[in-house]
């Protein structure tokens, strides 16, 4: 009896504090984001988000990739505008690539990194890549994986293995450079279908 008096209120408290309802399964109703791209858009920033749709009812012609884009004066605004166009929330925990387009300044880049750092879901081992236009790059058809983002990840790892050239383009490596106030970033440039050492800044 004593144990029941002790356990019952805890149980009721738990149930009310947590959600045992079907709403908990919300994770399956989020878009899995495989890659994010940032481009300069006027004075602000344009963000393109490559979403993998896992609900087959949601797509047309068996397409499972959707690109959501949004612009804003700040990264936060741009992201928020991109999210507004979507019917489901974004799950950034599986984001593999963050692409930065030409035209972005170092200040924009720092803002992008700061935003991504504050989004706890984005893993520190996400790769940064540079390109001419991130949105156009993400719109391409994936070759071997489900999404362009994962394709790029595989390509990067494969190229590093074959050429022996290890880029220091992981998020934590970039972030460490920012904290050291060292603007020499080792971000590979994706163009013409492969990565090169071309620098954005």
């Amino acid at each position: 009896m004593k144990k029941l008096i002790f356990i019952l209120p805890l149980f009721v408290f738990l149930l009310s504090g947590c959600s045992l309802s079907d709403a908990v399964s919300g994770k399956s109703e989020e878009y899995l984001i495989s890659a994010m791209g940032f481009d300069k858009s006027g004075q602000g920033i344009e963000i393109s988000v490559e979403a993998v749709s896992v609900n087959t009812e949601d797509t047309e012609d068996d397409k499972r990739l959707i690109i959501f884009d949004g612009s804003g004066n700040t990264v936060k605004q741009a992201f928020s505008n991109a999210e507004k166009k979507s019917t489901q929330a974004f799950d950034l925990s599986h984001c593999g690539i963050i692409a930065v387009g030409e035209g972005l300044t170092l200040k924009d880049f720092a803002e992008i990194c700061e935003y991504c750092y504050n989004r706890d879901e984005i893993n520190l081992s996400v790769y940064f890549v540079a390109c001419e236009n991130a949105k156009e790059m993400l719109k391409k058809e994936p070759q071997s994986s489900v999404a362009v983002g994962y394709d790029l990840m595989s390509m990067l790892e494969c190229q590093s293995r074959l050429s022996g050239r290890e880029y220091k383009n992981r998020f934590y490596e970039i972030e460490a450079q920012i904290l050291k106030k060292d603007n020499k970033y080792d971000i590979p440039f994706f163009g013409d279908g492969y990565f090169s050492d071309k620098k954005l800044w």
Partner: protein, 495 residues
């Protein structure tokens, strides 16, 4: 008529034959099985006696040859009081003859297959062991089959079971103490142990607990188990059960105590340790390397059985970032369109699996084929295609269920723990799972069996204490017995 033999405790044989016969007729007035035969010796007219027995419980041939025939030839001894002595020692051909005066003791004998000889003029009656009821025969236990090793199993007669044990342990050190439990059944319960190995405190504790049992009848060893076990409400067993004499003998050789209950082939052994749940009978009959693989697999299967559904729910509901990307995508895709949350799906599948399992155990064999079709097609295919459940959940529950079947001794524990962990994971994800698994481990550690730690191997955690837990070491290295023994050293002279 009183209900228990103990009600006749203060009633004694009067010595007047007619009166005594009338007494037994009165006691068994509604029992048509009781037989009363008057016998008068041919050569002694003063010798008049009556034979009382339960038809069906005695061996007729033995009764005729060992009792009736010899009595018919009896000659007059010197005095009435000497008659009982004379017949006991010089007349009867039976192996076990006892002199009794108290009616309660006599009733216990009659009700257990003994024949009673009432002698006119003698206040002492004789009971003769002529038990002859039919037994099942020695078969291999259904649930404890081995590929290699002895195939004997206990049966319902306790004395036969003790004989089987005695054959394996040919040592005068084997002690067998008898108790009667159950007010109406007076069931015989034998406590067996090796005197120089078992801790006397544990033996006393077992006896004390059994003597405290207050129940009208004991029909199976589980009745006793539920009364004497530690951790009354724990889902983990703290007493061992087996139907194999070799297993009991092995346990006695490790200083444990066996409780043999008449009327059931299931023998209880105590103390019972957590690692015994993962031991199989043939672990000691196969090569140690092979046996160790099986042992380790069983440990892994225990955690798979209780943990996999909970981890899946935690990862798919709360922590999708911890899933590999490709797996996260395929899980999410396969779950698409399912109306239930992972928790609800999991509960449905667990119950369906348990229903199939129970039905499989209890159904007539002729329906087995139909059940496998129903289980496989309906649950496995139709439900998935109808998107009532998802494929990943089906796989998870199937894996968990099959893993649970690897450790039959923890059947109940696995069911409850699986549910509890699933519930905690559904509420609090990995955090709830961590809390649940830690509390489970703590609960296991804190259990005792007859005041012996359930995880006594962890006290010292050296090779000798762990040699027969996660793996089975070769016999050469089994130098010591478990730490609750009086005599730890297994090898050497006089050990």
């Amino acid at each position: 008529m009183a209900g228990q033999t103990s009600d006749y405790s203060n009633i004694f044989i009067s010595g007047e034959l007619e009166k005594d016969i009338a007494l037994f007729k009165e006691i068994f007035k509604k029992d048509s099985v009781l037989r009363i035969k008057r016998i008068r010796a041919r050569k002694s007219e003063s010798f008049d006696c009556a034979l009382i027995y339960m038809d069906g419980m005695t061996d007729s041939d033995q009764l005729n040859e060992a009792v009736i025939k010899p009595i018919l030839t009896v000659e007059t001894p010197n005095s009435s009081d000497g008659f009982a002595e004379y017949i006991e020692k010089q007349v009867l051909f039976a192996r076990d003859v006892k002199k009794k005066q108290e009616v309660a003791q006599i009733l216990q004998g009659i009700l257990y297959g003994e024949a009673l000889i009432l002698i006119d003029g003698s206040t002492t009656a004789l009971t003769v062991d002529v038990k002859g009821w039919r037994t099942r025969g020695i078969n291999e236990p259904q649930d404890e089959r081995v590929l290699q090793g002895p195939r004997e199993g206990f049966e319902e007669a306790a004395l036969l079971n003790l004989a089987m044990l005695r054959r394996k342990l040919q040592t005068p050190d084997l002690c067998t103490e008898m108790l009667r439990v159950g007010r109406r059944t007076g069931t015989l319960v034998y406590i067996c142990y090796l005197d120089t190995l078992a801790d006397p405190k544990t033996v006393e504790e077992v006896k004390k607990r059994i003597e405290k049992i207050d129940i009208d009848g004991i029909l199976d060893s589980n009745y006793i188990t539920e009364f004497i076990r530690d951790g009354q409400y724990s889902v983990f067993k703290t007493t061992g059960t087996t139907e194999r004499p070799d297993t009991v003998a092995a346990k006695l050789l490790e200083g444990r105590i066996a409780i043999v209950v008449d009327g059931t082939p299931v023998v209880v052994t105590v103390p019972y340790l957590f690692s015994e749940n993962f031991q199989s009978d043939e672990d000691y009959y196969l090569n140690f390397a092979v046996a160790s693989v099986g042992r380790m697999l069983r440990f892994v299967c225990f955690f798979l059985a209780i943990g996999i559904p909970a981890i899946f729910i935690a990862l798919s509901s709360f922590h999708t970032e911890l899933l590999p990307t490709s797996l996260a995508i395929s899980v999410a895709q396969l779950r698409g369109g399912v109306p239930f949350s992972p928790f609800t799906e999991c509960l449905i599948m667990i119950f369906v699996f348990e229903i199939l399992k129970e039905a499989g155990a209890r159904m007539p064999q002729s329906l087995g084929h139909a059940l496998s079709i129903v289980g496989g097609l309906v649950v496995g295919q139709a439900a998935v295609e109808a998107r009532i459940i998802s494929t990943p959940m089906l796989i998870v529950i199937a894996l968990s269920g099959i893993s649970g079947l690897m450790i039959p001794k923890l059947k109940g524990a696995v069911f409850y723990l699986r549910l509890i962990l699933v519930f905690l994971s559904a509420l609090l994800g990995l955090y709830g799972f961590m809390i649940g698994i830690t509390l489970t481990i703590m609960h296991i550690i804190s259990l005792t069996s007859m005041d012996v730690d359930y995880t006594v191997s962890l006290r010292k955690a050296d090779f000798q204490s762990l040699k027969d837990t996660f793996w089975r070491s070769p016999w050469k290295t089994m130098r010591l017995r478990p730490y609750f023994n009086r005599n730890l050293v297994r090898k050497g002279r006089n050990k």
